[in-house]
Symmetry: D2
């Protein structure tokens, strides 16, 4: 079971992560082994060529990872991303994006996860795949 | 010499990259071997802990890389990022961010660059370092 | 079905990939959607601390990716890795390593895969996770 | 000044890093802000196409990073790579390779460096560029 609820995460995002609001971020599911986040489509996501811009996918992946970390650790303010790697696989057409984060490892000092991003317009094909590392602050 | 001017890039960003406007993007310099982009600070950049959120740095790095590619190739609409890797080194305090992109390689099919990000509040220490790969469309 | 057999891949590795022999490389399975490669343990794998050195895991991941690409494309000599990212999750004790490569995307110009590495001494926990991009040469 | 000498590092590599010997590893320079390592060419480096195999470059980059970390911290046995990212830029012809590692950050828990690899056959063009993160064990 997650250490924070979907509602608690969305309250943190609402108050403390302004860019998440720009992405229309909604958390769909949260457990201690999975977080699924949605970016509700708006025209501001587009880039030249009529597809969704890379930074929107990066921001959504980072938000899903953050939810996964808080779901496991509780509301630890100072957990931060230390590295992030993403491969863009297909160009997503206009539509909502979904990011699913699952842990590769939760250690004492580092949490590592992979994040798969899908478009609502083509749910069978991953549009981007990321891995991210979070540094976990020592217990107070 | 760059194949597009700073003004041309900013016009593209203004019309076609809505998220760039959310970041307060300004292009400071552009040649065929260097692009320097600025994100003008606003409160929306912050994350819990009082530092600037990772996705702002990722978006700025991606924009500087995009400027570098257009500076070398001209306004090629379909050039897209294929992979992006970033290491977060220090937590930037509130203030403008600057990203400097320089090429590692411009090939026929792929362009690879590194991007160093600095905070105006501490210009001697890099806050994040990224590498990115762009796929270059075949000539029409 | 793969475009080359396990035996054909091992013959290529034997004749053309000398470092693969240093790693005791064996291909366990090959289809057009999966390659599983084994590094047969030898003392030369160790690093200070009594665990297996990172470059052994990197070499094994790269070999599994190469098998996956040849399994899909046939024996294309000039396909080369363009980028490679790996997260080391746990320190593998002395023992054989297994790497399983599966495609994230096979495009015309780029193939992208993820590779999970396991130790025979603890098959339930991934010791390292990599993603790799291959550049596919244009048809002759 | 480095906390270990070139000779001390080479003794560690000789005794404790067997794969380094397979790469013909030599440390050329070591300070607390730079490590330069050489892989002395042998036929075993080659891959199909007549260029040097990626894992040789990865192993050399990792060794240069390891020297940089030990140069800064002294002979800390349990420092290990946690993530490694490399972009292959040009195909190196047969010849020695040189890797130069410089720090992006030395923190209390993580050390992050970039590593540029050159071929003796074309010293003006980087053949590969890597970034790596090391986890630093807490003081005993």
């Amino acid at each position: 079971m997650a250490k924070i609820t979907v509602e608690q995460f969305e309250a943190i995002a609402q108050e403390r992560l302004p860019f998440a609001q720009l992405m229309g971020l909604k958390l769909e599911q949260l457990s201690d082994t999975e977080a699924i986040a949605r970016a509700v489509y708006r025209e501001g996501f587009l880039r030249p060529g009529g597809t969704i811009a890379g930074p929107i996918m990066m921001g959504l992946a980072d938000a899903a990872m953050y939810a996964l970390v808080l779901g496991r650790l509780g509301p630890v303010e100072l957990a931060v991303t230390t590295s992030f790697n993403i491969n863009f696989l297909r160009k997503p057409l206009p539509g909502d994006l979904l990011a699913r984060a699952t842990p590769l490892k939760f250690g004492k000092r580092l949490a590592i996860a992979e994040i798969s991003i899908y478009s609502d317009t083509d749910p069978d094909n991953c549009v981007a795949h990321a891995t991210a590392t979070y540094s976990i602050p020592p217990p107070a």
